[in-house]
Amino acid sequence: MAKSIDVSDLNIYYSDFLAVESVSIPIAARSVTAFIGPSGCGKSTFLRSLNRMHEVIRGARVEGKVLIDGQDLYGSDMDPVDVRRMIGMVFQRPNPFPTMSIYDNVLAGQKLNSKRIKKATADDIVERSLRSAGLWKEVKDRLDRPGSSLSGGQQQRLCIARAISVEPEVLLMDEPCSALDPISTSVIEDLIHELKTQYTIVIVTHNMQQAARVSDETAFFNLAGVGMPGRLIEFDRTEKIFSNPTASATEAYIQGRFG
């Protein structure tokens, strides 16, 4: 488990519009990489291109290469469905399936794909995933309750449990804490620290303190102006970015002078 990602010279288009321009970035296995930058700079688009989720939008396409442990993500023999089984994703807003119980939500990856699993194995997966997501103690007595009966922070951890129950190689998180209160946020940040030992994690965040707290490496994205493509400005160790950034735009952004 846990694979590295190597992106080289990636352009992302929505129809004719170039949204993200020539990004090259190496992401190490078992590390946390944070993407920061102003709204509209393409960091979410770039994140979604890492498991081909952006293809859900009509007209979206990429040029360039994304290698997962040397395997080309956009190779002609790659099925986007397989890519997404390998690279899980947690979204900005908690989105448990409203028709399913907590138990079924955790097993959604298996159930929706109609995988036959023994009851004991299923129980095992549910407990392990919920423990990893730090939610087991809170919900172990009400696994049959609907997922939407949980609080926002619990729902988000349920979504994390759901994402890791299929044992992905990489976990992408798109502003996972932006809809949560500070306490739930810190629970999830602790969780990211623990998950790092097993998964490669990429997280988009608008909260620079959060990027500084959870990540090993940080990538700063920016765009020259409205209608211009987003670009990767700087990518380095998180300490370096936050203490002594190379680019002046990075420094201005993390000091809050724009964005």
């Binding site: 989105n95 409203p98 028709t99 609907p146 997922g147 939407s148 299929v166």
Partner: protein, 346 residues
């Protein structure tokens, strides 16, 4: 700040003022009615008395509150007027229909019946079979069309045309649907064809657009986040639709389908043309004429025979049974949408 608020007078009508005025209005109305004038004049009197409330309010509370009360009164009146035909129909059908109702009425056909007696068993069977077959034809077509429009079409030219045609189809007069079905079956069976399944085809022409439109609205309501969550778990699109989107929208779809059935179950004109009428029970949709409740009610009223009262009583009885079936359908739809709606949102 507070002394400004204190400065404005806060005179109000007593909280029971509205009840008081309405009670007085009802009394006045009933008074006029009982002293010999018509019910209509009584109702008009009651309505006029209600305007005492905004006037009283204007004197005591000032113009803003009086306007509020006046508009509330007007909106309430519109609601009451809308209820009048509904209750009138219910009263009339119950009043006249219950006389005919009974075990015999529900279990006998009209075969060899002249004058008193007989029942609508044949028409109930016909209505249930024809409408059921119409539902079997319409639901898959309508639902799959809606799935195509919402999940696959993505606003392409075909979907715009489809949506336009569905809108046009919603407005097709039912007699046209009947003629279409007749013309279709004449191609295969020759002039004068009468078939139960022809009625189903006619009804499904009317039903499909309603199913498409209501299902489409329900599918659109399913948040995109759920689809994305499913895709992100490596679930293919068709499984996402079958296992996430449809279950989430199920309650609304079932309600829409039930309303579509209720809409076509009372259709008379198309069935008159293609399903015809008969006095006997016919279980075979593919062979011969089939009686239905609306056509039976029409025929009983149109050609009552001598003496006419028994036949007319049966017409009202069949109308009542039809109404009960529709009500039952609505009840089932409500139960289904209660039990299938996403948990935690009840």
């Amino acid at each position: 700040m507070s002394h400004v608020l204190d400065a404005t007078p806060t005179l109000r009508l007593p909280t029971k003022a509205a009840h008081l005025v309405v009670a007085a209005a009802l009394l006045a109305g009933v008074g006029v009615w009982l002293t010999g004038d018509s019910v209509f004049l009584g109702a008009l009197t009651a309505w006029a008395v209600c305007f005492a409330l905004p006037l009283w309010s204007l004197v005591v509370e000032g113009s803003r509150k009086a306007t509020d009360r006046l508009v509330t009164l007007l909106v309430g009146s519109a609601f009451a007027i809308a209820l009048v035909p509904l209750f009138s129909i219910l009263y009339e059908v119950l009043h006249r229909g219950t006389k005919a109702l009974g075990i015999d009425f529900l279990t006998f056909s009209m075969r060899n019946v002249v004058g008193e007696g007989g029942g609508i068993y044949h028409a109930i069977i016909g209505t249930l079979l024809i409408t059921g077959a119409a539902a079997v034809i319409s639901i898959p077509i309508g639902l799959f069309a809606a799935i195509y429009l919402v999940e696959y079409a993505d606003g392409n030219r075909l979907s715009r045309w489809l949506r336009f045609l569905v809108d046009v189809m919603t407005g097709i007069p039912s007699i046209v649907a009947g003629l279409f079905a007749y013309a279709l079956f004449v191609l295969f069976f020759g002039e004068g064809v009468r078939l139960g399944i022809g009625g189903s085809v006619a009804l499904s022409v009317l039903m499909i657009p309603v199913v498409v439109r209501s299902s489409e609205e329900m599918l659109k309501l399913v948040p995109n986040e759920l689809r994305e969550a499913s895709y992100a778990l490596g679930v293919p699109k068709w499984r996402t639709i079958a296992k996430v989107v449809l279950p989430t929208a199920l309650a609304g779809i079932v309600t829409g389908v039930t309303l579509a059935i209720a809409r076509v179950i009372g259709e008379t004109a198309p069935l008159l043309i293609i399903a015809g009428a008969t006095d006997s029970v016919n279980f075979n949709l593919f062979d011969g004429r089939m009686a239905t409740l609306p056509v039976f009610a029409y025929a009983s009223q149109r050609n009552p025979g001598i003496p006419p009262e028994f036949s007319i009583e049966r017409a009202w009885g069949s109308a009542l049974v039809l109404l009960l079936i529709v009500m039952l359908l609505n009840l089932v739809a409500r139960l289904v949408s209660y039990y299938f709606s996403p948990k935690g949102e009840r």
